[in-house]
Subunit: 411 residues, 2 copies
Amino acid sequence: MFRKLLSLDEAKQILKQNFSPEPVGVERVSLSEAHDRVLAEDIMAPMDVPPFDRSTVDGYAVRAVDTFGADEDRPVALKFCGQVTVGESPSIVVEKGMAAEIATGAPLPKGADAVVMIEYSTRRDDDVFIHRPVSKVENMMEAGSDIRKGEKILKKYQRLSSREIGVLAALGLTEVDVYKRPRVAILSTGAEVVEPGKPLPSGKIYDINAYAFSAAVLECGGEPINLGIIPDDRTRLKAAVERALDSADAVITSGGVSVGPKDLIPQVVDTLGKPGVIISGIAVKPGKPTTIAIVDGKPVFSLPGHPTSSLLMFHMIVRPIICRMAGRTEETPSTLKAVAATKMFPARGRRTFVMVNLTYDKTGKPLASPVPTGLSGAITTLARADGFVEIPEKQQFIDVGTTINVYLFYE
Amino acid sequence: MFRKLLSLDEAKQILKQNFSPEPVGVERVSLSEAHDRVLAEDIMAPMDVPPFDRSTVDGYAVRAVDTFGADEDRPVALKFCGQVTVGESPSIVVEKGMAAEIATGAPLPKGADAVVMIEYSTRRDDDVFIHRPVSKVENMMEAGSDIRKGEKILKKYQRLSSREIGVLAALGLTEVDVYKRPRVAILSTGAEVVEPGKPLPSGKIYDINAYAFSAAVLECGGEPINLGIIPDDRTRLKAAVERALDSADAVITSGGVSVGPKDLIPQVVDTLGKPGVIISGIAVKPGKPTTIAIVDGKPVFSLPGHPTSSLLMFHMIVRPIICRMAGRTEETPSTLKAVAATKMFPARGRRTFVMVNLTYDKTGKPLASPVPTGLSGAITTLARADGFVEIPEKQQFIDVGTTINVYLFYE
């Protein structure tokens, strides 16, 4: 009955040898749909930004050399030769000794190579007096100084925030290639689970995992497909997992992986394709019965029925895979360094995850305290935790005051 | 021409006196749409979780008192009285001296008050030998021990992650009240801006702000409505802002707020309702021309045309307001403490924001270095920055090695 379980690191290693998570495809989306997606192409600037020499102030476009020697008391006198407003293509030419009135953002007229701020000029009819010299390209942005035509300005795998969307708009782009969201089929098993909203017969509980996983898949950049609750029957389970594999890029099941006679999931999954079940139990607490199969290139994660265990294993094992399949490069949950507020103990011989809350001391230093619970199946334990702490198999305990890594449940 | 500008703190104070950002409404959504929304109701548990006394192990349901004194060599002998599987409503009763086989997750039969793990039992026909005593409620979860019926389990203003969605599912809830996403109308002005995708005539640039703001509004939990580019014409601008106010809860315009004769936005907005323009320029760099109006209870943010300036002002002033209107309680951009890697100087007499990149030293300590740029309109400055540092009006400089707050551009 007892057998040597894989350690978490061994399990991760075996998973890595059998499955390389890669983006599942590319699709073209409009700029207004591109937010929070992951770029699937390098963006080479198709044009200069700004596209022309541009004034960054209101003032006079001049030849810098004409202003040399100007000062407050002995201004240089230049001849007014016209006006340039924003959005126009200037036809005037600033010859030697001339100055053109120019607005912020307007293109520099030919001949001019700098702009004098309006504050340092006075004007009398067609005479423009310059009270301060400017050097070449002062108060202007040269064409291409922000982005040079042909420059690789954004790289494949860049996640697109408002700032990158701004860059794409600056280049006049309206569509962009992004990685497809991986479809993740989710199914629950177990004679005791009932769909929320239905009446709850005595002895049954509502299906938590399908909903929690669906939201967690969204958090990874995936698209959840909730296939609902499948009865504990070999034929129906097989049909459901086959349907899941047909319609999705990865499958998550929950329940049905303990040692009971009705725990059919591993048996069923193992018949569906090669190599089949590669991980059958992991020495972690909670989460021990976790089973992982690869079926013809698609991963099937069979997680325990207990919501805290299964959502924790989702964070540790499934999340990095789905993130990678979505093109996201962050491989692990984000972490934060905190100080242990109490002693924490591992379960004997198993890597143990302790749910913790974070508080902050007066200096802003984060302190981690275990969420009080003795309840391995408690959904509230998870909802009340900010993250979890990992205690290695061989460590006796974490002492008060030790600096530890806290894996955060949120980004 | 020069006038005393409001400081950023004065401007924020005036904004606060004139506008209290509140959620714009409530809508009911299904659990599968609730992810990342903000709860608009307190959730009182309509039932116990678990709904019944539940075994947390595979083993035998017993009366704890019957096992007292059991040990490895002298087991207590109990009579097998039946089997309880998960999902069923047990009809058997565990009388004194009896034991019922029970699976993980199955309901405890009447009479039993603890479970002995299968590892500590042996069975011969109808005799069950218990090798270790259990105390009352050992290896079981009592009904309501996770969530008690009537308990306030989630509070209004809670943002819903996968973990809270799990709690709602546990309670059998399928719908929940969340705050409506505030609609934010976005319009660009300026003779020089052209919609991305259209041909770019000489002297023009593509409209960056409308796209960057749309994505930034999504990041705040709002719903952007991009009204496009409005020509610099008083009648058309007025009609556009009126349309924006009709269709949205807040309006953001960009461009048209400098001192040029075509900068009509403040004049137009001031005619539309009370109190009208409340802030007309702020002593910050960049972002000085920022104008804010309240028109019959709706805020109109008129930001400069330069993308870096306007997106920075969005982060400082607009973002906290839209977040609050979306029901999010985080009021300011998130910050991180970092060490200044170089000296940083403010612009004279103005609160200055310096865009910075973060790197990490060997101990993991973050270092902030200014993004190299002299270009106030550069969109790439923003895209390359991780965040910004605020230098107060009266501070001379930030010295190398000082610990400073970095406002992050991402959450």
